[in-house]
């Protein structure tokens, strides 16, 4: 089993997987949105509002937001781990990053479900 090879501390395997899966999901969403914008020049408010009123769009966008949150969390955590050496300062910064991402995710959900 993989677990017995890598030990209890899997040393970043799940972070690695999260970063890749979230990246692929976001690329699919971004390419789809680019197509939408190219196919709809002179986009009207009604069309834009209608798009986000659909349940599948809410779910797709929510998946994007969740992916972005995990992706940003792993990314910023890696950067802080590399460049901020004092443990206490790093822990405080990590805490603020986590709070910001959670706040943004909740805010995003509020925006989506108020349409």
């Amino acid at each position: 089993m993989v677990k017995s090879v890598l030990g209890v501390n899997h040393q970043g395997l799940s972070e690695w997987v999260i970063q890749r899966i979230s990246a692929v999901l976001m690329v699919i969403y971004i390419i789809s949105m680019m197509f939408y914008f190219v196919m709809n020049p002179n986009l009207s408010y009604a069309e834009w509002h209608y798009l986000f009123s659909r349940d599948w769009m809410k779910i797709a966008t929510l998946l994007f937001m969740v992916s972005l949150s995990f992706h940003a969390w792993v990314g910023i955590w890696t950067v802080l781990t590399d460049y901020v050496k004092p443990y206490v300062i790093r822990a405080i910064l990590n805490f603020f990053v986590l709070m910001m991402l959670i706040t943004c995710l909740l805010w995003g959900m509020l925006i989506l479900w108020s349409v």
């Binding site: 890749r20 834009w48 990314g75």
Partner: protein, 123 residues
């Protein structure tokens, strides 16, 4: 002691290999995008109200708004293309030195091309 070995300490002739520059810029652009998250959410929230949508339509005619938008797309385009390069390397494409250098160069070419397309779309 051997004092005849070659030394090159001229910083103007020493530089990071291209793949290393691609890598550090991927990090920097990622951090910039992280700080843009709340502003993008603010934009999304406003664009989904009729007043906000109208306001953005008016702003979209202003040159400086277009320019700012294009500048904000720089880290986006770069991070997207450099990220795809990363995924290619995960499936062992571009892990040799020669192909790695080519991929690094293509990262810059394709991000600039994508930015150009977005610029055309904005204007």
């Amino acid at each position: 002691m051997n004092h005849t070995r070659l030394k090159n300490l001229n910083l103007f002739t020493i530089h990071f290999p291209l793949p290393a520059i691609v890598s550090i810029l991927h990090r920097i652009s990622g951090v910039v995008l992280f700080f843009l998250i709340p502003f993008i959410l603010w934009g999304l929230a406003l664009s989904l109200t009729s007043d906000g949508f109208e306001m953005f339509q008016e702003w979209a005619n202003l040159f400086f708004v277009k320019l700012t938008l294009l500048i904000l797309f720089i880290p986006f385009c770069y991070h997207l293309i450099a990220g795809i390069r990363h995924l290619l390397m995960d499936i062992h494409i571009g892990t040799s030195l020669a192909v790695g250098r080519q991929l690094a160069l293509w990262t810059f070419i394709l991000s600039i091309f994508l930015l150009f397309l977005i610029g055309v779309w904005i204007w």
